[in-house]
């Protein structure tokens, strides 16, 4: 058993790290604006394509590719906020309308990528080559980097929203927009900030994933769905709950694949999801509203 268990746990950790990066970006926008960004996966894909173009086509190296990929995601995120979310502030159906506009944005970006880059598979080089030994199991250095980087990014985000002025203003706007405005916080600017930051997280995930999977226009769709399951499990309320749920789901997925095989894992995950929601409508770690 030992020979299988450790690699499974490592793969669970890797999945959990990717989901945590994705889901924390979704949760950041949700807690600040009450908008669920269905284009989050497409932003990730866009980041990966731009990084590939700069790294491979223009030959400027991986570092430049990373910066360009993340930057492109941020710009696209801010544009989405300005054009597709801002016009609907204060609308009674804002949550529903923005689901549709961001869904449309994801279609536009994904199809746009198909038109520009075509259907051929692409891949980014790895940040670090070679292998690392974790508890006797060989793991690629790149995957180890993701496993280490994700908690670091989450910690940085936690520090930022808890300790800095602008980070705290994000939380304040999320909890009470009127009160935030009345202590002098520029609410619309804070919205742009939230979208930009979240898109940066999507970009980071995209460029990291772009070297362990093939880059296709649908690169972001799969992780987005898994990140959605994470936020349903964890509730959308807090960063801690979202991160916790990400690792729980990542581990569950890896263990289910080990025990039941790839065939039944999605169905079992979904049944578990329904069961959780029947008994805890606000998620596994979510608060039950009074």
């Amino acid at each position: 058993m030992d020979g299988v268990l450790i690699p499974t746990l490592v793969s669970g950790l890797l999945l959990g790290s990717l989901y945590a990066l994705m889901a924390s970006g979704l949760s950041l926008i949700w807690t600040t604006l009450g908008v669920f960004n269905f284009a989050h996966g497409a932003l990730m894909t866009l980041g990966a394509y731009i990084a590939w173009t700069v790294t491979e086509q223009l030959g400027l190296g991986l570092a430049a590719g990373f910066v360009a990929g993340i930057g492109a995601a941020v710009i696209a995120g801010v544009v989405i906020e300005l054009l597709l979310v801002r016009p609907f502030y204060g609308s009674r159906n804002m949550m529903l309308i923005t689901v549709m506009t961001t869904l449309a944005a994801s279609t536009i970006i994904e199809r746009g990528i198909s038109v520009i880059w075509g259907p051929r598979l692409k891949q980014l080089p790895r940040v670090i080559d070679g292998q690392v030994n974790i508890l006797g199991a060989p793991v690629s250095a790149h995957e180890t980097l993701i496993i280490v980087l994700a908690p670091a990014v989450l910690l940085a985000l936690w520090w930022y929203t808890g300790r800095t002025r602008s980070g705290r203003s994000l939380r304040a706007v999320g909890q009470n927009q009127d009160s935030a405005a009345l202590i002098g916080i520029d609410v619309p600017r804070t919205f742009s900030l939230a979208f930009g930051l979240s898109a940066a997280l999507a970009g980071v995930t995209g460029v990291l994933l772009g070297s362990i999977r093939f880059i296709t226009p649908g690169l972001g769709a799969d992780p987005l769905v898994n990140a959605m399951i994470v936020v349903i499990f964890g509730g959308l309320g807090s960063l801690g709950a979202t991160a916790g749920a990400a690792y729980v789901i990542g581990m569950m997925e890896a263990l289910l694949v080990l025990w039941l095989g790839l065939y039944w894992t999605p169905s079992v995950l979904f049944v578990a999801l329904i069961a959780v929601l029947v008994f805890r409508p606000n998620g596994l770690f979510g608060k039950v509203s009074a």
Partner: protein, 318 residues
């Protein structure tokens, strides 16, 4: 539903019924059939989304379930297509009941997420259960419809055209009846003011379960028809693109109006089919539909029917 609207719906039905006598080429009839199929999915979605105010984003999965029910029954179990098509309605209703369990209790965005995730998980299951579903390649060479020796594909799809139109007409008539019934009014009440509705004896959770199941039946049936008509089942039916296309039909047509989404479905299907014929537009047409939906949401959140309503001075929909 005013008298004018009822007359308009009747006139439209008569008009569509005589179309095959003027349009005789197989391709144009095919576009009509596909448009009727999309329209059926859209109007049924409008029942839960527009009338019920339930943020159900898994509706297209009911369609996909109908598609795969008919495909699996006819290929693996040799069931007659005449039974396989309605069977799609039954499996879709069962799926709706399962998804309704958590959805009845959930609020806001969680309804969107769970229903959306449901659709994506259907896709995952179809992909992983390749022995039964054909995996990513899907199922092909389904049996076609016949009555006695008459094959529906003959006479330039003449019979398929009327069957598709009949499914759409039944859907629209049933939905208009539902909209005018106490049940339909209770749905609008729950949508607009759930607290007030509950305080008048309406169980919000129960109406949500009912509306999900009601909207799934004809959607599953038309899914079964789609599979039999095209003689294939492919996992694409669970994808983002079809969901975005159909939701844009509901929105552009005007959510909650039933007739509006039907009109929008016909118009959008013809528009996208026309664009598909232009080189370089195969991908871009989806972008254009997405942009059109955003524009409608910005300038006329009530959709096209709302615009007509304002032009005619009646002010309010239905």
């Amino acid at each position: 539903m005013t008298r004018t609207q009822r007359l308009f719906a009747l006139a439209a039905l008569v008009l569509l019924a005589i179309v095959p006598f003027f349009v005789t080429d197989s391709y144009t009839r095919h576009v009509f059939i596909v448009a009727f199929i999309y329209a059926t999915v859209a109007v049924n979605w409008d029942l839960s989304l527009g009338l019920g105010g339930l943020f159900n984003f898994g509706h297209v999965a009911f369609f996909g379930i109908g598609v795969y029910t008919a495909a699996i029954l006819t290929t693996a179990l040799d069931v007659s297509p005449w039974i396989a098509i309605p069977a799609g309605g039954i499996t879709a209703a069962i799926a709706a009941l399962i998804i309704a369990l958590p959805v009845a209790k959930l609020q806001g965005i969680y309804v969107v997420l769970v229903t959306f995730a449901f659709g994506q998980l259907c896709l995952q299951i179809v992909l992983s259960q390749g022995d039964l579903t054909g995996g990513a390649e899907g199922l092909v060479r389904l049996p076609y419809l016949t009555i006695g020796d008459y094959k529906f594909i003959r006479d330039f799809k003449f019979a398929y055209y009327y069957l598709a139109l009949a499914i759409l007409a039944v859907s629209v008539i049933v939905l208009l009846l539902i909209a005018q019934s106490p049940f339909g009014k209770s749905l609008r009440a729950v949508r607009d003011n759930p607290d007030y509705a509950a305080s008048r004896g309406i169980s919000v959770a129960r109406q949500r379960v009912l509306v999900l199941v009601a909207s799934s039946v004809m959607t599953g049936v038309v899914g079964g028809f789609y599979a039999i008509y095209l003689r294939v089942a492919s996992p694409e039916v669970f994808g983002f693109s079809i969901a975005t296309l159909v939701v844009s039909m509901v929105l552009i047509g005007g959510a909650g109006s039933i007739i509006g989404p039907a009109i929008a479905a016909l118009a959008l299907t013809f528009a996208t089919e026309a664009m598909a014929g232009v080189r370089g537009m195969e991908e871009a047409r989806f972008i254009i539909v997405a942009v059109a939906m955003i524009v409608v949401l910005q300038v006329a959140p009530g959709g096209v029917v709302d615009i007509f309503g304002r032009l005619l001075g009646s002010g309010r929909k239905t």
